[in-house]
């Protein structure tokens, strides 16, 4: 029965979240304690489970005899589940301080907590149908979070998000169907499940479907040409942008892409075909495109969002290399980017929340006034650039190692794109840092007299993330070994 915990960690936040607006909390503190407690308990449960590694699978529900909602923990799921269960409690903590002045807090936290469960559902899904279901559900439960402020932009943004996500899912759905029909099993199996005998002469069709499926799932990972929803969604409160649009939602897209690539269609099936070239070219283009847009953007959160677009395509690029090393690269960037981006987003959020300034040119001299926030931001920025010694370098190294190893000329181009992107990252991150720490000489600090560092609820996550960035950057061995052992399962 120990497998039941797989379902418990998913359902606990979903059900507990639904209760938030229903329970009669006397004051905000009670609600905070309940919410944080719920998330914390669940993430502790999840992490315990990750250490125990239950081997079996748990069937929650059967649509039909072969269509089930079932959960199983494997290596890749462990990585994703670990990321979200570590980040969620911290971001909830941060959200308490951030959301202090926003309306409809209870609704917000309800969906925020539910999303936790749904994301875990994606991570722990045993088969492609379960993943698809939770993937769709994720769209739905995150929608109110984007709409939260209910301004015109928020509504427009949420609409765009919805169209893109559902549209992507619609195309991904085709892929899911093909896996169901041409696969030996819907379950994720390292190396893929395609029954090549059944495929017969339909290889090209199947490759086309793979491309559709890849593109469909990568809508959530904001791959060009489906990337414009992400910067728009930046109107959401920062805890949402930080956690969902830097980690949970977008990584869910990348995760799904990796799942179908490495565990359903199988890398061997696609490697070396036109399909690989198509998806890789798209990822490479997005890497550069996202960065260029980020450089042009002056709104902080949107700039970071474009940066996310580019960085997610790093992951997709890793997935598109379709070698075990590529998987290692993609997964390591998934981990690294989660920490770096969430850290930088939280900093941006702290600035917006505490001072109401949203544009880069308004940040002159902030480094002096919010030293802790901007120190964290600088570290995150340097990590994003890939400065050695920080986690961004590690993941980039893994990605490029895979690309160089694959001996695919397009992958070489991808390496070049990564370098261009790193340069552009330097431009869009460091301009902020330089502005904040080194304002013009005639800058009048009186204009930002009231600016100061936020409280401990916000600072604690920063500290943890910065430490994580550095620790992973300096001592990446255990992480990489873990990821390599996952990749080693691929045939």
């Amino acid at each position: 029965m120990s497998e039941a915990i797989l379902a418990v960690v998913i359902l606990l936040p979903i059900l507990g979240g639904v209760l938030i607006p229903l329970l009669p909390f006397k004051n905000r503190t009670q609600m905070m304690v309940y919410t944080e407690g719920l998330v914390l308990i669940d993430s502790v449960l999840a992490i315990t489970m990750l250490f125990q590694q239950p081997q079996g699978s748990f069937v929650l529900f059967r649509f039909t005899s072969n269509l089930t909602l079932s959960f199983h923990l494997d290596g890749m799921g462990t990585v994703f589940a670990a990321i979200v269960s570590v980040l969620w409690p911290l971001c909830v903590l941060y959200a308490f301080e951030y959301m202090e002045h926003e309306k409809h807090e209870k609704i917000f936290f309800m969906f925020y907590v539910i999303t936790f469960g749904v994301t875990l559902g994606i991570a722990l899904a045993e088969d492609v149908v379960t993943m698809y279901c939770f993937y769709e559900m994720l769209t739905l439960v995150t929608l109110p979070l984007i709409m939260h402020t209910l301004t015109r932009e928020a509504v427009l943004a949420s609409r765009t998000y919805l169209y893109y996500s559902l549209g992507g899912a619609a195309f991904a759905f085709i892929g899911v169907i093909f896996i169901l029909i041409y696969g030996t099993t819907p379950n994720f199996t390292p190396g893929g499940v395609l029954d090549l005998a059944a495929v017969g002469d339909r290889v090209n069709i199947l490759l086309l479907i793979y491309v559709l499926c890849f593109m469909g799932f990568s809508v959530k990972a904001a791959m060009w040409p489906f990337s414009s929803w992400l910067p728009q969604a930046g109107v959401a409160p920062t805890p949402v942008t930080a956690l969902l649009h830097a980690v949970a939602v977008v990584k869910a897209g990348a995760f799904a892409v990796m799942r179908v690539t490495y565990y359903s269609f199988g890398p061997d099936f696609v490697r070396g075909t036109w399909a690989q070239n198509v998806v890789m070219a798209l990822a490479i283009f997005t890497i550069v495109y996202g960065c260029s847009r980020a450089v042009k953007e002056t709104h902080i959160k949107r700039r970071l969002a474009w940066s996310t677009v580019s960085n997610l395509s790093y992951i997709l690029f890793g997935a598109a290399i379709m070698t075990p090393l590529g998987l290692v690269g993609a997964l390591s960037h998934m981990v690294a980017h989660a920490i770096m981006k969430i850290c930088s987003f939280l900093c941006a959020g702290a600035v917006i929340c505490k001072t109401g300034r949203e544009y880069v040119h308004q940040l002159d001299g902030f480094g002096r006034k919010m030293p802790k926030v901007f120190a964290a931001f600088t570290v995150a920025g340097l990590a994003l650039m890939g400065v050695p010694g920080l986690c961004g370098f590690i993941s980039k190294w893994q990605l490029v190692r895979a690309a160089v190893d694959s001996q695919n000329p397009l992958a070489y181009a991808g390496v070049a794109a990564l370098m261009i992107s790193a340069l552009l990252t330097a431009i869009y991150m460091l301009t902020i840092v330089v502005r904040a720490f080194f304002p013009r000489k005639d800058f009048d600090y009186d204009t930002i007299r009231d600016v100061k560092d936020p409280g401990w609820k916000m600072l604690l996550p920063f500290a943890i993330f910065v430490i994580a960035i550095v620790v992973i950057g300096l001592h990446s061995r255990p992480l990489i070994q873990g990821l390599e052992s996952i990749a080693a399962q691929l045939p």
Binding site: R368, V387, V400, M419, F438, P439, K441, D442, F443
Partner: protein, 511 residues
């Protein structure tokens, strides 16, 4: 344990960080008021004492580390099979020693100079950190370690450029940053491929490229190496990524320009030496299109730099273009891939470091004492500050390469190396370009001397009138460092043999 060789790295970095942090805490105490209040004289004294002490101790340690034989330290594994690894070899030695001396000398000069720029504490904080990073860069024992400190050096030296906080300074700093980053990433691009096709990334004289692995992947490898040359060449001001130099130098404080031009530009050279002679191996490049392209680029840079300097009226910008041109002398010496050429290049590294620092210090004195930046304003300046101008003249002669100054020695070797290397038409074109460039160098440096001493009439300087004093000679604290550097520029040319032997030993070891 040889871990003590890291002390010259850690000590200044720590000391610098403490300076910066205390700056931040100082702010807090002031209750967020005007953060940049002027420090009192006493505070300044103790600051100078602190910086001087830290630098002196670190430089002593660095010299000790450099002179006491082979050392190596492995810290921890950054990536699988790639530790952060330091190793002191001859190249490290050469760079560490010269950098330490120059850094120390310039520091003394800056104690006075920085009074007029302000924000000393911040400046010295970064100044110390950059020194530590440069030591680490010199001692780095593998490519990734070197890359690590190369990036950090870029980041930490940037505040030196934007020091005065004007719009141009910030823009120039960003330009510097992005050009360097662009170069660094081109370098990183190459590192990835070298990691795949080399036995190890640890520096080994003569290269570690695995011919078996490289077989069939020569094209991509050549592209990667070329990328690295161009990339690391950015720091060294090589075409096409040279544009940051003329932007960054004029706006930086003069001590900063001096070390940027004299030392940090050489970090690019160091990186290229490491890549070409210690990882890829010169044999792999010899005769390929990469070598041809490299030589073409360097010669173009040499010529273009001199031309631009010749046309430039702003003194520090002129010196900056001169750096562009001169550093490419070094790169040209390397690009011919012959022992003699490399010897010349290494000699020129040392000489140019000394000379260019001297020149920039002179420029600093002109600015400090007269507030003048344009060449035509320097007419008659020899009357007010003859000692300074004499120092300038010696340094200039050395840079042009008039025997028996140091520049002559290095250029001789460079030209000889080009002729001997068997690089076809470049064997002729190279020395010719060097010669033309030397003439141009004379053309842009010497007029200052001539018009300084012989203005052809009486020229009054505004500053001199203010001071009611026709003697604008700077204080000894500024003059002595300049004099030391100028003297070195000449003396190294008179007694070059130990250095030549040392350089040719290095060159012989890699080829």
């Amino acid at each position: 344990m040889d871990a003590w060789i890291l002390l010259p790295v850690i000590l200044p970095v720590l000391a610098g960080v403490i300076l910066l942090l205390s700056l931040a805490f100082d702010k807090k105490k002031n209750g967020g008021g005007q953060p940049d209040r002027e420090p009192g004289a006493e505070e300044l004294h103790s600051l100078h004492g602190y910086v001087a002490a830290v630098l002196a101790v670190s430089a002593a340690l660095a010299l000790a580390a450099a002179l006491s034989g082979e050392h190596s330290v492995t810290l921890f594994e950054l990536l699988k099979g790639i530790p952060v690894y330091f190793h002191v070899d001859d190249i490290s030695r050469l760079f560490a020693i010269v950098i330490s001396i120059v850094w120390l000398v310039v520091a003394f000069y800056s104690f006075v100079y920085m009074k007029h720029e302000g924000k000393e504490q911040r400046f010295y904080g970064f100044y110390l950190i950059v020194y530590g990073v440069l030591m680490a860069l010199s001692f780095a024992g593998n490519l990734v370690t070197m890359y690590l400190f190369y990036e950090i050096m870029t980041l930490t030296s940037m505040p030196l450029v934007l020091h005065n906080g004007s719009r141009e300074a910030i823009m120039a700093a960003l330009k510097y940053l992005f050009y360097s980053m662009c170069g660094a990433y081109l370098g990183l691009f190459g590192i990835f491929f070298l990691y795949k096709y080399c036995d190890t990334l640890t520096f080994t004289a003569g290269g570690t490229l695995n011919p078996g692995l490289a077989q069939g992947n020569v094209t991509i490898l050549l592209i990667a190496v070329f990328g690295m040359l161009v990339g690391f060449g950015a720091k060294a001001g090589m075409l096409p990524l040279h544009a940051w130099l003329p932007a960054a130098h004029p706006v930086a404080p003069s001590p900063a320009s001096a070390v940027l031009s004299g030392v940090i530009a050489k970090a690019g050279v160091l990186a290229i030496i490491r890549v070409v002679f210690y990882v890829v191996g010169p044999d792999f490049l010899r005769g390929t299109w990469v070598q041809t392209a490299w030589m073409t680029l360097t010669l173009l840079t040499v010529f273009m730099g001199s031309m631009m300097a010749f046309r430039e009226p702003v003194f520090k910008k002129r010196l900056a273009y001169s750096t562009v041109s001169q550093v490419s002398y070094i790169l040209f010496g390397l690009s011919v891939l012959s022992p003699v050429g490399m010897t010349g290049a290494l000699l020129h590294v040392v000489f140019h470091m000394v000379i260019k620092c001297a020149l920039f210090l002179t420029a600093g004195i002109f600015i400090f004492q007269c507030g003048e930046t344009r060449v035509e304003q320097f007419r008659g300046i020899g009357k007010q500050m003859p000692k300074t101008l004499w120092c300038y003249t010696f340094a200039s002669l050395a840079l042009i390469g008039i025997p028996p100054t140091s520049g002559f020695v290095s250029k001789w070797y460079l030209a000889q190396g080009a002729l001997e290397a068997g690089v076809g038409v470049f064997g002729i074109v190279g020395p010719a370009v060097l010669l033309v460039s030397a003439l141009l160098t004379a053309g842009y440096l010497l007029p200052i001397t001539t018009s300084g001493f012989f203005p052809g009439g009486i020229v009054k300087h505004v500053k001199a009138e203010e001071k009611q004093d026709s003697n604008l000679e700077p204080s000894l604290e500024m003059l002595i460092p300049l004099a030391i550097l100028a003297a070195l520029a000449v003396l190294l040319g008179l007694f070059p043999n130990p250095l030549i032997n040392f350089a040719s030993r290095i060159a012989a070891s890699v080829m």
